[in-house]
């Protein structure tokens, strides 16, 4: 549409303004509405978290008052020091970090590798096998938790961090996610590479991996968060107090000190912060990355 002097059709109700300025007032209104919508959405999404942060700075009595208190009378910053002494937060953080990093690395590597096989290599029985993978996602974990636990115990893995790593690292979810993204990469690119003499492994390394950065980044983030927040797994597999993760540690803390509401909130806030920071800093890279430029031209 050109933006030269053109009179708008009668009855449009717009000012006749020369040049590009004809578009601006409408755009600005939409933009403002968009911002408003986002602010309302952000407020709704963050409200519970706001209450958590405020409560982490209260004294215990102020947390569950009737009616609800939105701001503490005087901020008890000391809670953020006390939590390290009263609970074993450092141990929990360390364990959770080890698990999250290990599981994420393994899931992304093996998952994307397998996804390429499922997406771009044609071999008999492929689709049936893939359906089997997806099928296990449909089985609720509580159901086969016990046979799985017995299996791990017989391999002498229970009550070690390895149990959680092996448990989560070979899931079907990563394969599923990566396969869907690989399907959006056109086959012609691969055919061209094959004609050029690249092996399948070469194609995977030189073409698929660089192109799928947003998907890999998403998988990394989601796996990291899922492992970070996993509650049932550590509950069933870990016994020693020095193996506890944040979720398990928080839950035992709540059971032991169930009236220490403020500290519980402090612990909860601390458990979210690392991921929030990682996400805030990296979200643009996660989501946009270099892939879009690779597909142009």
């Amino acid at each position: 549409m050109d933006t030269t002097l053109v009179a708008p059709p009668a009855g449009a109700g717009e000012l006749v303004v020369p040049g590009r300025r004809r578009r601006r007032p409408r755009n600005r209104v939409w933009r403002a509405l968009g911002y408003l919508a986002m602010l309302v959405a952000a407020a709704a999404l963050l409200l519970p978290f706001y209450w958590m942060v405020m409560s982490s700075l209260k004294t215990n009595n102020e947390v569950f008052t009737i009616p609800i208190k939105w701001v503490p009378d005087s901020a008890v910053w000391h809670n953020y020091l006390d939590i390290w002494q009263k609970s074993q937060m450092t141990t929990w953080l360390r364990n959770t970090l080890i698990l999250s990093v290990a599981v994420t690395a393994l899931q992304v590597l093996t998952g994307s590798f397998a996804a390429y096989g499922f997406a771009k290599v044609r071999f008999p029985g492929r689709d049936l096998l893939f359906l089997g993978y997806i099928g296990t996602i449909a089985v609720p974990w509580q159901s086969y938790m016990i046979p799985q636990f017995i299996l791990m115990s017989k391999m002498h893995l229970s009550n070690t961090l390895w149990s959680i790593i092996f448990l989560q690292a070979f899931g079907a979810f990563g394969v599923f996610l990566m396969k869907q993204y690989y399907e959006s990469i056109p086959d012609e690119l691969l055919e061209a590479a094959r004609i050029d003499g690249l092996s399948e492994y070469g194609i995977y390394r030189r073409i698929m991996l660089p192109l799928s950065v947003p998907a890999i980044a998403s998988l990394t983030l989601l796996t990291f968060v899922t492992t970070w927040n996993d509650y049932l797994g550590p509950l069933i597999y870990l016994r020693s107090p020095d193996l506890r993760t944040i979720q398990l540690g928080l839950s035992t803390f709540i059971a032991q000190y169930n009236a220490e509401y403020a500290l519980i909130m402090t612990g909860s806030v601390l458990s979210v912060l690392p991921i929030a920071v990682i996400f805030l800093l990296g979200q643009r890279y996660f989501l946009e990355g270099i892939a879009t430029t690779g597909l142009k031209g």
Partner: protein
């Protein structure tokens, strides 16, 4: 076709291990003869539940060649974790029975040793032994027997100008007092209410089952619950007691409600005594004049200090894992006997725990700092006919589940008492009792 699931899994595991090139199979344990023995004991929340360490250390003092190593489990999910470990064969030698209703499963599943010989040697004053019997054999030995009593705040009673409980109360007297307290406290400018009944199903159902003559859980007839729920709803509607909805969503804790003087009365188990004493010291509870009275009774026939009040409570005991090494069995049995006997009882009373043998320790118990000194409190602690909340049977776990749903339905106002109990009775008949 009988198949042991662990065997099936073991075969599968062996196959996969073989494929992975590792060696499988466990080495057989050699029977060690005499010499120092280490027993493993499963407990929970060690830093706030000192009873396990106390018993472990006390036993070691009298049996120097036996060390008891306490393994910590998660208090809120103890049974889930123990079940998982037992299924995998890695549970400790001795494990505490935290919830009575699971005893049946452990016993019939072959996870508890028959300890009837230990039970025979214990005196009559050890309460709760019958609760651990299945088919005439005893499978665990109680080391503590809590009962439900009525805690009350003397200072709030004074403020509201209501007479203290004197041991002669029935439930109607209790309701009247709660309402009087609420009105009196409001007039005196206090925000406290008359009573706090915690959200658990046991708060209402435990009393109903124990006190109603002829009431039987496994009969599937739950009409004995009706008068008790009518009273609870009455208290909620009168504002003398926070509603179940408020208590659940605001996560009210009974320790804070009574300890911080938000309620003048609290029906609760005697385990709360140790917590209250500790919290008074740490400042998590206020320091005020308090006492315990016998629980309100069904009718006048069991009230008064010349009768024995009827109340409920489940024992907590230790059981021996059937997978224990043969050479350790006698040491384990001695530990069980110690924990239930007079020495164990004294050690427990010293930290404020209600042992299974209360007669031996009333004086020790009441000599603790912060305990009430009046005669009624001592009477309430020492004399009671305590019936189990969870009578042992294979239906108990399923029935309690159904009754818990009825409990939340009634007290949240979602269903009337008659329709909730009627539905519970139907479900009991169709889902549990026909198995």
């Amino acid at each position: 076709m009988k198949r042991s699931i662990p065997t099936v899994i073991g075969l599968a595991a062996a196959a996969s291990l073989l494929a992975a090139g590792c060696g499988g199979g466990s080495s057989s344990d050699s029977d060690s003869a005499s010499g120092p023995v280490t027993l493993t004991l499963a407990g929970w929340s060690l830093s706030t539940t000192p009873e396990f360490k106390t018993l472990a250390d006390g036993f070691h003092a009298t049996h120097p060649d036996v060390t008891v190593e306490v393994k910590e489990y998660d208090a809120a999910n103890y049974d889930t974790q123990i079940t998982a470990d037992l299924a995998a064969g890695s549970a400790p030698d001795i494990y505490a029975q935290k919830t009575l209703k699971n005893l049946y499963t452990y016993a019939t599943g072959g996870q508890l040793m028959d300890v009837s010989d230990v039970a025979k040697k214990l005196g009559n004053s050890v309460g709760g032994l019958d609760a651990y019997q299945v088919d005439g054999k005893t499978y665990a030995i109680p080391y503590r027997q809590d009962s439900w009593v009525l805690f009350y705040n003397k200072e709030l009673f004074d403020k509201a100008k209501v007479a203290y409980p004197d041991g002669s109360w029935t439930w109607d007297d209790y309701v009247t007092a709660a309402k009087q307290l609420t009105d009196g406290l409001k007039a005196a400018g206090s925000k406290a209410v008359g009573t706090y009944q915690h959200v658990w199903q046991s708060t209402v159902q435990g009393f109903a089952l124990a006190q109603t003559p002829g009431a039987k859980l496994t009969s599937g007839d739950f009409s004995y619950l009706k008068p008790y729920y009518e009273r609870s709803l009455d208290l909620q509607n009168a504002g003398a007691q926070p509603s179940l909805g408020t208590a659940t969503t605001n996560k009210l804790t009974y320790q804070a409600q009574f300890g911080k003087q938000q309620a003048a009365m609290l029906p609760m188990g005697t385990w709360y005594i140790a917590t209250l004493l500790a919290q008074r010291e740490s400042g998590d509870a206020d320091k005020f004049d308090w006492g315990i009275a016998p629980a309100p009774q069904f009718d006048k026939s069991t009230t008064g200090t010349s009768n024995t009040p009827v109340t409920f409570g489940d024992p907590t005991g230790f059981g021996i894992n059937t997978a224990i090494k043969k050479s350790k069995i006698s040491a384990a049995k001695e530990f069980l006997a110690y924990a239930a006997g007079p020495e164990g009882a004294k050690a427990l009373a010293g930290i404020g725990i209600t042992p299974a043998d209360t007669a031996a320790v009333t004086d020790t118990f009441f000599a603790l700092d912060g305990m009430p000194t009046d005669e009624l409190s001592k009477f309430a602690f020492a004399k009671h006919d305590t019936k189990p909340e969870n009578p042992v049977s294979k239906y108990t776990a399923g029935l309690q589940n159904i009754l818990n749903d009825a409990h939340t339905a009634i007290l949240s106002g979602s269903k009337s008492i008659d329709s909730a109990l009627g539905e519970a009775q139907n479900r009991a008949k169709n889902e549990v009792l026909n198995q």
